[in-house]
Amino acid sequence: MTGFGKLIRTTAFRLVVTYLLIFVVFAGVLLGYVAWNARRVLESQLSETIDTEINSLAEQYRLGGPRRLAVAIERRSRGALGFIYLLTDQQNEVIAGNTPEVLPAMAREPGWHEFVFDRTDDQKLDRVQARIRLFQLPNGLKLIVGHDLADRQRMRIVIRNAMAMSLLLVLCLGGIGAWVVSRRVLRPVDNMTEAAGRIMAGNLAERLPVRGVNDEFDRLAEHLNLMLNRIGELMNGLREVSDNIAHDLRTPLTRLRAASEEALRTAKTPEELQLALERTIEESDGLIKIFNALLMIARAEAGSAPGTLTDVSLNEIVADVVELYEPVADEAGVRLVMGEYAAVRVRGSRELLSQAAANLVDNAIKHGRPADGDAPGQIRVSVQLVGESVELVVADNGSGVPTDDKDRVLERFVRLEKSRVQPGSGLGLSLVAAIARLHGGKLSLEDNRPGLRVVLTLPVRRAAAGGSV
């Protein structure tokens, strides 16, 4: 019973049953229509035959009156298979005819009738159905001419057999066909279910099978696979963050702890203790900054809060950041100049884009000094339209980044100078890259010969009016 219950619940079984029902109904309607038509044809043929017979008898009556009619009936009664004749006088006495059993029908109105009677034929009782026509002749004579309906009954049997046969055929062939088709249709679904089961069981690298025929199931599998990839990326990102937190927060935490311990052990005067505490606060502020930056990156990468994106002017954002950093660059002996300055609007967050621009400029000021110490540093910031996108370019004439390191430098906590004398967490560029991705853009590092050219590419927001501001 449970096996059957299971079978009933499978989509394959339901499909098969549904298809069979449809087939059976269809075959029934078709055969019914054929039977109805055949019966109509048979009946009209029969009526015609009877009418012909009547016409010829009427001819006999016209030529020789009732006597000749009776003779003709007597003659025809012998040998005419299936025909029914009966002629009676006004006392309902049979004058001529071959089927006295239809005598009760004489009581009916003149016209067409169907009449059922029992006939003894070779000691065998037969129930006979007949189509008859009753005439009222002058002198109280009554005439019945008719034909039995054996043909129609035979046809009904033939049709009934055909129906049974075709039902059987439909059941067998349709059942097999529907089963095969549903297996074919449902096998990919079963395969997907199995693959999903294996993925859930922990084989996270597995993907759903795609048969390459580009049907609905393939498209579904492809979309699910894309979703799995995205989830995988997010999970990897998360794992990377936690690994990095473990690795890179431990170092400053250890330093913090060691410094506090040492101060506790060795500091003698209140001044020494105060100094140690101040250092502790400084160190923990650094930790908080790293933590905030990591959170920002994680949020930006998760693509959160699309509602905070609005229509903003990129060139104004960049100009504000350049203005903010101009005095800093000045103090560092670097010339910070605004290059090409296209008026462009993008869909984004002013806060995040400002932070991205600030990080890029900050990086350039800190790390973009010319290798030759005497040469003047110059940082050129430009906003330029390139096709459907806009590029925010921060180019310096410093020592640049070796080609091999260009991708690595975008990762979290990666700092190229191993000594780490310059301040920084190694998160600045990763944050910019995350902000770029959140805005549907990308960050790339290019060679400025000499120096580094950092390009933040963003999609342009086309104004409804078609022009930029």
């Binding site: 606060i281 923990s284 900054k289 920002m296 905070t308 903010l324 005095p327 800093v328 600030a358 900050d362």
Partner: protein, 228 residues
Amino acid sequence: MTMKILVVEDDADAANYLIKGLRESGHVVDHAADGEHGLEMALTSPYDVAVVDRMLPRRDGLSLISAVRAEGRELPILILSALGQVDDRVLGLRAGSDDYLSKPYAFTELLARVEALGRRRANTPSQTVYRVADLEMDRLSHRVTRGRTEIDLQPREFRLLEYLMRNAGQVVTRTMLLEHVWDYHFDPQTNVIDVHVSRLRSKIDKNFDRPLLHTVRGAGYMIRDGLR
């Protein structure tokens, strides 16, 4: 200036640290440990400023603020939150808080902001001329003079000085400047504010024997008459 401050914070250690610090700075402090209690106190006693934690038992901080605003109270409220992201801050301000500070914070930062909030209500906001000693700023004609000397300022320097002078005699932190003068809420890795302030200082204090723009160590900046 002594202020009456309401602190709504459920964490006992954090609350004690806050209350102690605010009292040492000369303020009167009341404490509520949950949102319902906090709301009741905010509606029944007059306070100059309220400091409200975002996540509270019984009634969360945002709902407390909305309820206070629904009663038509203009009590200045600073919201504290462990969720320091841009959209959280926007939510906090939208609910009706006047300022937002994310945890962990420096006490000096909190104190400066609380005092700025309390003062904002005391000051007439439509004041058109700010004056500190012989430094004078006319906000309508955008003229700044010190003594008889006219000082030429860039637009951003003008706004920087304007914010400092509006809060004259009080500490203004770097993040407060970054938020109010530049409208940035992120942390630039370099201390860009210091450079801007020192530029401003060279314009208003250089060549004058009495410095007005002071650096407050470990906190920020303050403009005041040095002899007072």
